[in-house]
Point group: C2
Chain length 340, copies 2
């Protein structure tokens, strides 16, 4: 596996600090959410908390539940309903991770053996179903039909995005629009829902709900674009992340979409052989990276992410200045400029 220098190493520290600052502001809430997650994923069938706990504890950043907590606080919410709802968001996210890893036949997640590699595909499918059901149980206990509507609709869209990704996989002619459609559905909708329900529990007007939805949606698009860039450029040592997974699976992500369009006939033949036919040889990943370098597609993908980040920033414009708003704005930089 090739190791590539991150695009701009000096940005790392600021970005990480931004996420830490946000987490710090909701630390008490997040501790309660972590307790709820442990408590509510319990089942007398021991393998369920074992497997669920394995993935829940495996180094995720809790970005989505943190967004729910922060959005609620941004809206001046003083209660505790956002805590179980943030746990629901994490349950839905975890369920999709479990099913994703089965669908992608992944052996690694966040540098550790994936749950399906340890517990098997069958258990991963079923425990994903359990977490998904449990999320709806917890939402029902909360009792807000608005929240149920937002999260059930987000879940349906996520599955649609995943199926769409399956269908467009290995198609090198995928357009940037088609790529965006997939990541909006599979990733950004849950970010949008996570933020939006913060305004819902706070009982804020539709404009604020919509503003937080827009912040989450654009942040989620930026997040996924950068994730796809990092699959070709992450510092391997950080969090054990390896590079080239998407390449080996023939996933058509933005750096590839741009490289295919900017390439000549010979280059397109290379992309077709490696990503459509999955006929890959020693040195192919390095050659792919060289082509991306030649056409600046990693740098330009990050620039595209920055555009969605800018939209996320403006979406928060109607909220007055506050430490939590500052932290939510800084998290955009974390998402765009992170190198892991």
């Amino acid at each position: 596996m090739a190791v590539v220098t991150p695009l701009d190493p000096k940005r790392r520290k600021a970005g990480t600090d931004a996420l830490e600052a946000l987490v710090e502001l909701v630390a008490t809430d997040l501790a309660a959410v972590n307790d709820l997650i442990i408590r509510r994923m319990h089942s007398d069938v021991e393998m369920i908390p074992q497997l669920a706990g394995y993935i829940v504890a495996s180094g995720g950043k809790r970005l989505r539940p943190v967004l729910t907590l922060a959005a609620a606080r941004l809206c001046g919410y003083q209660g505790e309903r956002h805590q179980p709802l943030a746990a629901c968001v994490e349950f839905i996210h975890t369920a999709t991770l479990l099913h994703d890893d089965v669908v992608d036949e992944s052996d690694l997640r966040r540098g550790q053996p994936s749950a399906n590699a340890v517990f098997g595909n069958k258990a991963s499918v079923l425990v994903g179903d359990f977490l998904f059901s449990r999320a709806f149980q917890v939402m029902t206990e909360d009792g807000s039909l608005d929240v149920l509507r937002i999260l059930s609709s987000a879940s349906a869209v996520i599955s649609e995005g995943e199926v769409l990704q399956l269908i467009t996989a290995n198609d090198t002619t995928t357009s940037e629009e088609a790529y965006l459609e997939v990541i909006r559905a599979k990733t950004a909708e849950l970010f949008a829902a996570a933020c939006r329900i913060g305004a819902v529990v706070a009982g804020r007007p539709a404009a604020e709900e919509e503003a937080l939805r827009s912040y989450g949606l654009n942040l989620g698009i930026a997040f996924q674009v950068v994730d796809d860039v990092l699959d070709y450029s992450a510092v391997q040592a950080r969090l054990g992340k390896s590079i080239g997974d998407d390449f080996r699976e023939g996933k058509i992500t933005l750096p590839v979409v741009l490289a295919f369009r900017r390439g000549d006939d010979e280059e397109r033949a290379f992309w077709r052989r490696t990503l459509e036919d999955i006929d890959q040889r020693d040195g192919d990943l390095e050659h792919a990276l060289a082509l991306m370098q030649r056409h600046n597609t990693l740098r330009d993908s990050v620039e595209r992410a920055r555009h969605y980040g800018a939209m996320a920033r403006d979406a928060l414009g109607l909220f007055p200045a506050s430490p939590i708003k500052r932290a939510l704005l800084d998290v955009i930089d974390f998402v765009v400029d992170r190198d892991f």
Copy 2:
């Protein structure tokens, strides 16, 4: 594959007629449910309605949604809310079938190639997720938190049952109690929920809700026990059903639980070799059937099912006589005495 004479061929006709009579009584509602199913499984991602439609249309008896419709009518309900909720019940059932077939690595369902065999495991996992999410969207539109509570809780229990089944698979020492715990969770809870929500939409008192839950639960247990018997005794020609699938997978169902307990050391060694080690040779299925014949475990399993059927029958005792009650009682006979 061996073909075995059904336990009592003359019973077939009465049983089938009983289901047909029940379906006849809710025919208008069921037509509306079928429309709703088609309408609500729509997605712009074409593979979703294609795959979902493939399994939804593949000859299922629509037993669970019919139970919701009939239970509501038994409670004197005159509205239409039970129609979308019956569709939800079928969506949840279909989602579990899709995931089941992936988990069981099945190639056939109801005598046709299973959805995963046609569309692939990945699509089956994701479309199952879609149907599940869509079910919760439709329930949320209905707006009853009681229904949401009942069906989200049933869904969580179903996943728990499936995981439990996975863990106890291939364990020949499984007790009858452990077997019952699995089928109660994976099958009977959804029957119970399907019936119970009929009373909920009708706004009936807790005693009637509980009576319908009990009817559904016991009917569901009887249904699954007989399903497991039929895997060793179905008439192969009917609905293309083949026998011996559970044997080949090493599933420990009631006919095996009883045969293992009633067998001698040599017989237990046979069950361990074939079902624990999955070391199966020509003639093993026929030998298994002979052992079941020797110990009467198919006949006695049906007797066990009849016991749960009797409990289902008594559960309906507090409802006054009506054609729909008559049909619900007759369906118990269909479930116990069917040969397909």
